[in-house]
């Protein structure tokens, strides 16, 4: 599959093995710039592995991952791609402000920009708290602020909304949509189906393979299902019948 010209992320026949077992078994996709793509699938389906391959921290067996025209994880991408891991990757012995200011500084961003990112994730009132003393959701938001502050062209988020207050979840999704509108490309993994409708495109991952790569509306239309949960189930049953 030749990369489409406006693909921000192009994955071609990616194979990842872990412990001798295939985790990703030849997946390919094109993710257009300025879109929000949802990566859905049950836990253990390979979502995190796929995401790590896109940011270039995953050892791969074969296949190619190209981001903004460069091989994933290479030097030119390190100031343009931001990655938010599933478990908040922040320093527990630093305050929220110090954490975000540190990651901001690595990209030449100022302390006031760091404070802006903290406000945007709704952590302004907790800026001086040590990260160790935060709740799980607050840690996630701090980790997110560390990525938002650099205004990345590609933002890769691994289950960013787990355990968050519905109001904050709503606000974050609005921000993700806003970033895409400004031209950023977002890849967001989730196992919550109700978030899928907020994406421009969905990748459904199951047992290391994509079983769907489509828009939410087309996915519903193709399966005749009322919601995406049902559409996903429908696809799995079809596959099982075919085997």
């Amino acid at each position: 599959m030749p990369p489409t010209p406006n693909a921000a992320i192009a994955v071609d026949d990616l194979v990842v093995h872990r412990g001798g077992r295939p985790v990703l078994d030849g997946v390919s996709t094109q993710i257009a710039a300025g879109t929000v793509t949802g990566l859905l699938g049950p836990s253990g389906s390979g979502k995190t592995t796929f995401i790590r391959a896109v940011v270039g921290t995953q050892k791969v067996k074969s296949g190619a991952v190209t981001v903004l025209g460069h091989p994933a994880g290479t030097k030119p991408l390190r100031s343009r791609v931001a990655y938010v891991t599933q478990d908040a990757s922040i320093y527990p012995d630093l305050s929220v402000r110090a954490n975000v200011a540190y990651f901001a500084a690595l990209y030449g961003r100022s302390r006031s920009e760091a404070m802006g990112a903290i406000e945007r994730v709704g952590m302004g009132d907790h800026a001086d708290k040590l990260a160790a003393n935060l709740s799980g959701g607050q840690k996630t938001r701090t980790s997110l602020a560390c990525a938002l502050v650099i205004e990345p062209e590609v933002l890769v988020l691994d289950e960013p909304t787990v355990g968050l207050d519905p109001v904050i979840r709503e606000e974050l999704w609005d921000q993700f949509r806003g970033l895409a509108k400004q031209g950023a490309t977002l890849l967001v993994s989730s196992h919550v189906m109700d978030e899928a409708d907020r994406c421009d495109r969905l990748l459904l991952l199951r047992e290391g393979r994509f079983i769907a790569d489509d828009t939410p509306a087309d996915l519903r239309a193709a399966t005749g299902a009322a919601n995406l949960e049902a559409a996903f189930l429908h696809l799995i049953r079809e596959l099982e019948k075919a085997n």
């Binding site: 921290t57 050892k59 320093y91 012995d93």
Partner: protein
């Protein structure tokens, strides 16, 4: 490598350390207390204390840097921040040098306090200048850092990292000539001792102890320790992987 990112990283690591008040107090006070204890034990033989106290002045920063580097870096590896940093413009050398600067500053503060206590209050005497002792202690501490960096790759928990202490630190203490003269050890043990960098730090200290002027032999021995720092740092940096399984 970027000097700017190196200093940003060093600042972050120092801030982490300073936020942990109890560790700061332990780092600054414990070596002085230990050396005071040794001095009290050897009250009847001040010339023995001159040797033992002097060696400990370099050994404590070495041991402390080994411990705090191996554990801090292990946390960085297991906490996901290392993986995150590997996706930022931070280079491996930026990170390693950031650690060296931050913990090197901690080792310097520790050594200044311990050396002041030893020289001013415990009657430590050396023929050579105190600044040479300080320099040797700093280089030894950087070796501890580099070794801790390397070793952190082989530990998966903090509990394991602590267990590496007796493996990597204690043999160097036992064989460096502190508890038994090297020339009275079995030949093969002298061979092992010759291969351990801390031995050369002790040789350099001995030069400062007996000569009023700084000798070429001191510089030579110090250069061996400095070379060991570079080798261990390179090995440690090689364990920082951008791509993992």
């Amino acid at each position: 490598m970027s000097l700017r990112i190196t200093f940003i990283t060093a600042g972050r690591i120092l801030r982490q350390l300073l936020n942990d008040h109890r560790t700061v107090v332990l780092i600054l006070a414990v070596p002085s207390l230990m050396i005071a204890l040794i001095s009290a034990i050897m009250d009847a033989a001040p010339q023995v204390f001159d040797t033992v106290g002097l060696i400990l002045l370099a050994f404590f920063p070495f041991m402390m840097m080994f411990m705090i580097t191996s554990i801090t870096l292990l946390r960085e590896r297991t906490g996901g921040t290392l993986e995150r940093l590997m996706t930022t413009p931070t280079g491996k050398l930026d990170l390693v040098c950031g650690y060296a600067i931050a913990f090197g500053a901690a080792a310097a503060a520790q050594t200044v306090i311990a050396a002041s206590v030893a020289y001013l209050f415990l009657g430590l005497e050396t023929a050579g200048p105190a600044w040479a002792v300080f320099l040797i202690a700093i280089v030894a501490s950087l070796f501890g850092m580099a070794l801790g960096l390397f070793v952190s790759a082989f530990a998966t928990t903090e509990f394991q990292a602590i267990q590496f202490m007796p493996v990597f630190v204690v043999p160097q203490l036992l064989l460096c000539g502190l508890i038994w003269p090297r020339d009275q050890m079995a030949g093969w043990l002298q061979g092992v001792s010759d291969a351990l960098p801390v031995t050369y730090a002790v040789k350099a200290l001995t030069e400062v102890q007996v000569n009023t002027e700084v000798t070429a032999a001191m510089w030579g021995n110090l250069a061996v320790v400095a070379a060991a720092v570079l080798v261990a740092t390179a090995l440690g940096a090689a364990t920082l992987r951008r791509r993992t399984n």
